[in-house]
Amino acid sequence: MAVCGESGDTTQFSEYIAKNVHLYKMKNDYELSPRASANFTRRMLADSLRSRERYNVNLLMAGYDEVEKKAELYYMDYLASMMELPYCAHGYGSYFVLGCLDAYYKPDMSVANGYELLKRCIAEISKRFSINLPTFSVKLIDKDGIHDQEPIHARQLVI
């Protein structure tokens, strides 16, 4: 789960969700599917929306469903509207990056091509977006679990 938004809310909310997902596994002996976790997260966010203080976080949740045998990506904004999408982005950078993704994304891309596409998006932001974002960490989620990939440094990209 990648979170952005109000400082404090990001850590508190993401840890709350992560620990509850882990608790489910401890109680029931099997893990929540990505779809169930995303819906649980949406429910928590929607309930907090109409309570005394809302969590101001935007999230992307990614997971691999072992039963359905496919990877899933969920976009959730701070109002708790959720959509399953092939690719997505939050923040001002999304205005630049979604166009890139629309043009170059293919549903059957390999991991290497996906990583190249991420680099292309970051190159785009480095070139056209006024806020300096020098480094991006990358994680790959597949049937074998979560793998840390090489971080992408904006300086090293050919712009």
């Binding site: 929607a46 109409r50 959509m83």
Partner: protein, 204 residues
């Protein structure tokens, strides 16, 4: 910037001869940015009963889930499927419960009752029901849809003609609204089947 036009979208429902059709656009956007192209605002509530929730996307999902909870309990207690009039009453009730902190959706209910007679009903965000004999519209492009429906709709349309009429009404209305469109899905409910069709629209 109004809350009801934060996400955008539109839903229309029309009565025909022993059939009813309900249609929605498929855009999921945040103000003027389009995020997703498969956000259907229509959900199935019974074998011949569908409901659409145009408005704020988070409330579309929340109200659908809260209503599903209530209809599940109804079906367990009463041991029968909920009828369109009863379902509409439940929708109005749920919305008025939140009279002073409302859900920002304007639901549209469409279905066939036990005698296969068509029933449509639309609500405002606080649960005022409107169940006319012709068509109902809701969403950011409702004024455009009123114009299209008023000119195209006739009483006693068959299922195929109803599909044509409702598709043209929705597509042309969405073409005149910047935050609606990007695809459309139409459900035609007849006594023995429900046909779901995706309509090709301008993707802008």
């Amino acid at each position: 910037m109004s809350i009801m036009s934060y996400n955008g979208g539109g839903v229309v429902a029309m009565k025909g001869k022993e059939c009813v059709a309900i249609a929605s656009d498929l855009r999921f956007g945040i103000q003027l940015q389009t995020i997703g192209l498969d956000f259907d605002k229509i959900f199935q509530a019974g074998p011949k009963l569908y409901v659409g929730f145009p408005g704020l996307a988070t409330d579309t999902q929340t109200v659908h889930q809260r209503l599903k909870f209530r209809t599940n309990l109804y079906e367990l207690r009463e041991n029968r499927k909920v009828s369109p009039k009863v379902y509409a009453s439940m929708v109005g009730n749920l919305l008025y419960e939140h009279r002073f902190g409302p859900y920002f959706v304007e639901p549209v209910v469409a279905g066939l009752d036990a005698n296969n007679q068509p029933y449509i009903c639309a609500f405002d965000l606080i649960g005022c029901a409107n169940a006319p004999d012709d068509f109902v519209v809701a969403g950011t492009c409702e004024e455009q849809m009123y114009g299209m429906c008023e000119s195209l709709w006739k009483p006693d349309l068959g299922p195929e003609e109803l599909f044509e009429v409702i598709s043209q009404a929705l597509v042309n209305a969405c073409d005149r609204d910047a935050i609606s469109g990007w695809g459309a899905r139409v459900y035609v409910i007849e006594k023995d089947k429900v046909t779901v069709r995706n309509v090709r629209t301008r993707m802008d």
